[in-house]
Symmetry: C2
Subunit: 253 residues, 2 copies
């Protein structure tokens, strides 16, 4: 049996990243079409149209932008580490802000419609994911981007940051899958018929694409060949924030 | 800031494994109590009691036993690799058989009650997870336990086997979360009241424990310090199936 060696080479990275972008954009577009076509589009007036902002923002922020924020360390593996760190932090800040808009949309809608908050497993897992994401972002900012953390502390935290980064992406997708399940059952379009309604088929495909996106991002990030190559020259040139202070080498994913 | 060095040492492995077992057993017990106390227990007569077999078997097989099957390479990191391989395959076979019983239970119940199969995202993701798990088990058996695969093929497939092993655990937990969400909404105990019903609270806690179990298993498996130490003596002694044939070194996680 012949082994496809090209799967392992760095030259395949653009294909994986390209594939992830196709999947990620498809997820955002399908969520937008689902809410736009089947539930009357978007507004901020306390109506069901305001609820529609929630899934769109969460898929855009907590899944697509989050995944892209993770991928920058592989996509720009030959660029300066300082620039990539800042890009990583900025994309995750955008993802956080968009997620906050999505959360405010649903809480505000619930409150105006007298629907209780935080009773479903979707809301428990989703809120847990968001809170841990916010903590992870603060810790990453404090320990990796600013100079006050020691190299020992950074190298201790780095594998945890990477591991929980992928865990939180999986939790975000899991929460999205529960959200899709809830929405489909509440709309009763899938349960009232013995055939698969077009809306349910679209939403189920969205669920599978979200899973594929997260799996592809996880694959690219954990693949040994795609890791950022060591660059002793860059380390020696002290282009990192922390090296300006304590002269120690940088730690980054 | 002091860094808790003990977190990184191998001596902490028993605590993580012990914690994962507490979480895993809690998941199985809570699922059993949920179905037993709130839905009248278990039977195989086409009634709702037959449905109850489904969540119990899936949580026991696709989550708890699956996770333990993954963990054996870390728990028995100093035992002979051949024994650990066989144990790994056997636990996963048990997990597969129990999952098949769980699947037959729900399909048979649906068919007798004229409920359509495979329309929900839960069923799509769950079935995809099961089919990929079965393929992964066959590939693992064929390539790692029996002697006909070359060392090159084994070392190419090994990282994929490990990566997709964790992906499938995450997908199994994601499918379980959707199953919990569906069951709670269909039972209407959580949506008809503005307070959290005891059943919904129990099921939501189950969901969070399932997530914690998978995260802990993933943490133990991916932690560099917990990996199986290289054992050149073992390699030289040819205690592996494949070395009896082609004399090449073994590949295993």
């Amino acid at each position: 049996m012949e082994i496809p060696q090209s799967w392992g080479g760095v030259c395949s990275l653009p294909w994986y990243v390209g594939g992830s972008q196709v999947l990620g954009v498809a997820c955002v577009v399908i969520t937008g079409v689902w809410m736009g076509h089947f539930y009357g589009g978007y507004a901020w007036n306390g109506s069901g149209q305001q609820f529609n902002v929630h899934p769109l923002c969460m898929v855009l922020g907590m899944v697509f932008l989050y995944g892209d924020g993770v991928l920058v360390y592989r996509v720009f593996r030959n660029e300066s580490k300082r620039s990539v760190k800042i890009l990583h932090a900025l994309i995750h800040m955008m993802a956080l802000v968009i997620s906050i808009v999505g959360l405010v949309a649903v809480f505000d809608y619930h409150n105006k419609a007298n629907i209780p908050n935080m009773y479903s497993l979707h809301s428990w897992c989703g809120m847990l994911t968001f809170v841990l994401y916010f903590l992870q972002w603060l810790l990453g900012l404090g320990l990796f981007l600013f100079p006050w953390a020691s190299t020992v502390l950074r190298s201790w935290y780095l594998p945890l940051h990477v591991f929980f980064g992928l865990v939180l992406l999986a939790m975000a997708v899991g929460s999205s899958l529960m959200g899709i399940t809830e929405k489909l059952i509440f709309s009763q379009s899938s349960s009232s018929s013995s055939t698969l309604a077009p809306e349910a088929a679209l939403a189920n495909v969205l669920g599978l694409l979200l899973v594929c996106f997260a799996v592809l991002v996880g694959f690219v990030v954990t693949k040994e060949e795609f890791r950022r190559p060591p660059n002793p020259e860059e380390e020696a040139l002290s282009v990192h924030f922390n090296t300006l202070n304590d002269g120690s080498g940088p730690s980054s994913p």
